[in-house]
């Protein structure tokens, strides 16, 4: 499946979860599908989606969903170890794995030879899901009903959708997101 179709499918099952989205095309695709005050779009800090999600999950009662990528996670593999040890039950880490650095020209990552789901298993993640084109009818509600930390590994096709840059400034993204969190407390 295309990444944008996968994101669309997942977003249709989300209600009021806080979403942290990796920089570059994944954020652009998410914004294009649906914009919401529950979304934090990363514009920089490559590799840190899972860490931002962990900090958020540890300081909020709300469910936090992170859209990460294979290249991004490989840059910050230690994050899995920290998440496992901190054990936040409200964190769902989704790795959209297209085996390439899609936002910089689709250079290959090592995710074609190293199974990131197995890495998460070796670290100790109890709740793991794997989806690829062989199980198209994946039920994301089941994922959302699990008490985490949950590791979701989804194989997607390489390539980016033809969607524009997010027309929001960084401060606008942050301020709106923080108001959303504050008003829900």
């Amino acid at each position: 499946m295309e990444r944008i179709e996968t994101i669309k499918k997942i977003v249709s099952d989300l209600t009021n979860e806080l979403v942290v989205c990796n920089l570059g095309f994944p954020s652009r695709e998410l914004y294009h599908i649906k914009d919401s005050s529950t979304h934090f779009y990363m514009l920089g800090s490559m590799g840190l989606a899972s860490s931002i999600g962990l900090g958020l999950a540890m300081s909020s009662n709300r469910k936090v969903v992170v859209f990460d990528g294979d290249g991004s996670l490989l840059m910050n593999l230690g994050s899995l170890v920290t998440i496992f040890n901190q054990n936040p039950d409200n964190l769902t880490l989704i790795v959209l794995d297209n085996e390439c650095y899609g936002s910089t020209g689709s250079q290959c990552t090592y995710a074609s030879t190293v199974n990131l789901g197995k890495v998460a298993e070796a670290v100790g993640f109890k709740y793991r899901f794997f989806f690829d084109d062989n199980n198209k009818e994946f039920n994301f509600k089941e994922v959302l009903n699990s008490h985490g930390p949950v590791f979701v590994h989804i194989k997607v096709k390489p390539g980016n959708a033809d969607v524009p840059v997010i027309p929001m400034e960084a401060l606008e993204i942050k301020d709106r997101f923080m108001v959303e969190i504050k008003t829900s407390k």
Binding site: M42, G44, G47, L56, M58, A170
Partner: protein, 133 residues
């Protein structure tokens, strides 16, 4: 570290690498916490991109409490290059910093440093020279 762990108001999250810690601090701030990172100045080098493209870009506050290796009294030559680069890296990132000489002074500066961080939306550094510790 004992002080940190004995304070019930502090959540201590050990990390595998400093840049990861900055990601966690950013999320924690947005979730309502006042974040600080304890590290050696080497970790500043590991975290330059996060400081610029996350903290500066989104105007996020955090305290960087750093032991400053490579300062007067350093016994390992390997620590000298990053020791010399540290204030320059902070300057290049336009991160304001303090250089308290004693623990009492540091204790007084910390609330002030946080106030600057929060009001300006910026990381603020605390450089602790070898003589400090």
């Amino acid at each position: 570290m004992k002080m940190v762990d004995s304070d019930k108001n502090i959540t201590h999250v050990p990390v595998t690498r400093e840049e990861e810690g900055f990601g966690i601090c950013a999320g924690a701030f947005m979730g309502g916490k006042n974040p600080a990172i304890l590290m050696q100045n080497s970790g500043l080098g590991n975290s330059v991109n996060a400081l610029a493209s996350l903290f500066e870009l989104y105007k996020l506050p955090v305290l960087l409490i750093m032991s400053h290796r490579g300062t007067e009294g350093e016994f390992m030559s390997a620590q000298i290059p990053m020791g010399i680069a540290t204030p320059k890296v902070l300057d290049a990132l336009e991160i304001p910093y303090f250089n308290p000489k004693t623990p009492d002074e540091a204790l007084k500066i910390i609330p002030k440093a946080w106030k600057i961080a929060e009001t300006e939306g910026t990381p603020v550094g605390m450089l602790l020279d070898i003589k400090f510790w």
